[in-house]
């Protein structure tokens, strides 16, 4: 038995919210891959906790997006029944965790923390601004998410400093991680008509407006870590408009399998 994919409408506010919800959802899926495989038990729990925080944030925003979309889709349908082109997260979120040392780990720990740091800093700024959203529900979700994002940001920033300011080996790995995430950062600050509409309605800020504060926070931590930011790239990925990397389909196949095989299945 197969199940029909769903498609959301073209409303700008729905798209704006899905960009945010999908960012949380897809990064959570990547962090979830560490569950049971963390370098130490304590960090394993930390990464899983963060994945769960992100899923919680995604749930709230997906539900709101579903209401505004008006086709009666709930959070589960939106999370699991859209096709690849209907996900609007920046490509950065979907990048695989990387190759672990000697194949014994599900990913590159430095990359995982470097991405978490860049994304958490960005999400923190976005949630802070969304607390003033004209949509009361979004503002309420943001109020709760800000506290979670603060912790995510601090935890990841600590790791960036530890690895950057650690041994030659850890510094080399953190540098490699930064090089890997850098080309995908532009998308976090690229505006289009969806942003303009959100600013107009007061739903939320244009993503580009987060750049100065994000840059300052990044520079501060990278300086503390003794790391030099890679050269800025002019490449802009396009996950926000549904054009994803080759990794997205594989990831969705795993993520959606259960809901598609057992439609409506719950705990």
């Amino acid at each position: 038995m197969s199940i029909q994919s769903i498609k959301v409408g073209e409303r700008a506010d729905v798209r704006y919210l899905l960009r945010l919800a999908d960012s949380c959802l897809i990064l959570a899926q990547r962090l979830g891959e560490w569950c049971g495989h963390g370098p130490i038990l304590e960090e394993d729990l930390a990464l899983s906790n963060m994945a769960l925080d992100l899923i919680g944030q995604a749930r709230g925003v997906l539900t709101r997006a579903g209401e505004l979309d008006g086709q009666g889709f709930d959070e589960d349908q939106l999370a699991f029944l859209r096709d690849e082109r209907q996900y609007f997260n920046p490509v950065l979120m979907e990048l695989p965790n990387g190759a672990g040392q000697g194949g014994t780990q599900p990913g590159d720990f430095a990359f995982t923390q470097a991405r978490n740091f860049a994304v958490a800093t960005w999400l923190l700024l976005l949630w802070q601004r969304l607390q003033a959203s004209s949509d009361a529900e979004v503002a309420a979700i943001a109020g709760k998410a800000v506290k979670e994002a603060q912790y995510h940001q601090q935890h990841a920033a600590d790791w960036v400093v530890r690895l950057g300011d650690g041994t030659d080996e850890s510094q080399a790995r953190m540098n490699a991680a930064l090089t890997r995430i850098w080309p995908f950062l532009n998308e976090l600050f690229h505006d289009d008509a969806i942003d303009a509409a959100a600013v107009q309605s007061g739903l939320g800020p244009a993503w580009s407006s987060l750049k100065p504060d994000w840059q300052a926070a990044m520079d501060e931590v990278l300086a503390e870590a003794g790391l030099t930011p890679p050269k800025a790239s002019s490449y802009v990925s396009a996950g926000r408009v549904g054009i994803h990397s080759e990794h997205m389909g594989h990831m969705l196949a795993e993520m959606q399998y259960l809901q598609r095989a057992y439609p409506g299945g719950v705990w």
Binding site: I40, E42, L45, A46, Q154, H155, D158, R162
Partner: protein, 102 residues
């Protein structure tokens, strides 16, 4: 008296004891231990390992090596003499409900 002498292997982070206060007014209670490279990391990981179900409002971490413990061999000398001294229990007072946690 004996200090905890278990030395961590060179490739392992030091051990920390974790104390969590479950709500304002209550004591910090020992709830377990964890490995962490330094105090800052120990505090963060304590939060992640021991307070994920809303257990706490405050966390302490203490290097396990700093705990001074009584010697199990001296247990009888230390504790048995108290066995028959019921008069040391203030069981004849009724505590007001508001201080019932004392």
């Amino acid at each position: 008296m004996s200090t905890t002498t278990t030395q961590a292997p060179a490739n392992e982070w030091p051990l920390w004891e974790v104390f969590v206060r479950s709500k304002a007014g209550l004591d910090h209670k020992h709830c377990g231990s964890l490995h962490a490279a330094d105090a800052k990391m120990a505090l963060q990981l304590a939060r992640d390992v021991y307070t994920r179900r809303q257990e706490g409002v405050s966390v302490w971490v203490v290097p396990s090596s700093q705990i001074v413990a009584s010697d199990p061999v001296e247990k009888s000398m230390y504790f048995d003499p108290m066995e028959d001294k019921v008069y040391r229990h203030p069981t004849f007072y009724v505590l007001p409900e508001s201080v019932d946690h004392m």
